[in-house]
């Protein structure tokens, strides 16, 4: 039986879809059979991030409405034979699927896949409820800035209310040089505020933009820092104990001068 993980955040633009694409691709590259479900109906994007936008024939609403069989709607990845995408519908709205239909769908997929990764839409309305309905674990993506952390806190509360306890936190788009000069919250600040387990930290990295441009997840790019962070996250999901990447290099010049003079 497969494991069902929802990737959510509350706030938009923090990197849910990027995380879904990279985590799923990473899990598949380790030999697991993985399916991604895009539940962002009306604003689908996982297909373009994965570079699979030209292969879509049917979507999730076609499946739940019975217009096609589930197998027909699953798109096989271009690179990995054991990775599939169930795309969101682009023309319908988020009420086109119900939580019960999601549960039914996931139940079928669990029989065949090792991991079912659900990409959740932003917000806390129907789309969010659909996305978490069938999940067994949750990954909350946030950025080290006030609005994203605040929304993450709200989402963690809602997940707990839905019996999805102990969500795992991914801090995305961390900028080590800003952390170093005290202008960005660090891992421990965010962990302290949200009081949840950190699954991983992904540095801000231009290679993410490049890989999204190309439709190729950074996790497969061995030279990408963010890709390395995602590879570590994938290993942790499978139960491996991998230490957090060292993003904060030695103190900068100014910090050292200030320390020398005892200035805080």
């Amino acid at each position: 039986m497969g494991e069902v993980i929802v990737i959510t955040s509350g706030k938009g633009g923090v990197g849910k879809t990027t995380t879904t694409a990279n985590v799923s691709t990473g899990l598949a590259s380790m030999g697991n059979k993985v399916v991604m479900i895009d539940t962002d109906i009306g604003l689908r994007n996982l297909d373009v991030v994965m570079g699979l936008e030209n292969r879509i024939v049917y979507d999730i609403v076609d499946v739940t409405n019975g217009n096609c069989r589930l197998k027909q709607a699953l798109i096989k990845d271009r690179r990995l034979d054991n990775l599939f995408l169930l795309p969101a519908a682009q023309t319908k709205d988020k009420t086109a699927v119900s939580p019960e239909q999601m549960k039914e769908l996931v139940k079928t997929l669990k029989k065949e896949f090792d991991y079912i990764i659900i990409d959740c839409p932003a917000g806390i309305e129907q789309g969010f409820k659909n996305a978490i309905a069938a999940a067994e674990r949750a990954i909350v993506v946030t950025n080290p800035e006030v609005s994203a952390v605040r929304d993450a806190d709200r989402i963690i509360g809602l997940l707990e209310a839905a019996e999805l306890r102990e969500p795992m936190l991914v801090i995305n788009r961390l900028r080590p040089e800003m952390v170093k000069r005290g202008d960005m919250m660090n891992i421990f600040d965010v962990e302290d505020i949200l009081a949840v387990k950190i699954l991983g930290v992904v540095p801000e990295d231009e290679s993410i933009v490049v890989s999204t441009n190309r439709g190729e997840p950074a996790v497969l790019d061995m030279s990408s820092r963010a890709g390395q962070a995602y590879r570590n996250i994938v290993k942790r999901i499978t139960g491996e104990d991998v230490p957090l990447m060292n993003l904060e290099a030695a103190d900068g010049f100014i910090t050292r001068i200030k320390k020398l003079f005892g200035v805080k």
């Binding site: 605040r150 509360g157 100014i254």
Partner: protein, 102 residues
């Protein structure tokens, strides 16, 4: 601006790093978010307060108010609890409900 920041930093004049400001603001806003999202929490607290205080004094439960008030950089739990009567000799007679033997 960047130069000014730089000089300030060298001289240690920056009042507070923007990270600590962010953290402090988040801490305060989350106290309110969590309390208002789960009114259940304040209600449960209210019931427990009544239970504890009633052991020591008689209070007007209907007029009891419990709220979170925020000042500039702190949040306080403010409880307004009208007292009707103090219980007498609490320490000496812990079991006041027990009928006394004649």
């Amino acid at each position: 601006m960047a130069m000014l920041d730089f000089i300030n930093r060298i001289l240690g004049k920056e009042s507070q790093s923007s990270k600590s400001v962010a953290k402090e603001r988040l801490r305060l806003v989350l106290v309110h978010d969590r309390a208002s999202i789960s009114p259940h929490l304040l209600n449960a607290l209210k019931e427990d307060l009544i239970k504890v205080i009633s052991e020591y004094m008689e209070i007007d439960q209907s007029a009891l108010e419990v709220n979170l008030n925020s000042e500039d950089n702190s949040v306080a739990l403010i409880a307004n609890i009208p007292v009707i009567k103090m219980k007498r000799n609490y320490a000496e007679q812990p079991e006041t409900n027990q009928p006394t033997a004649s």
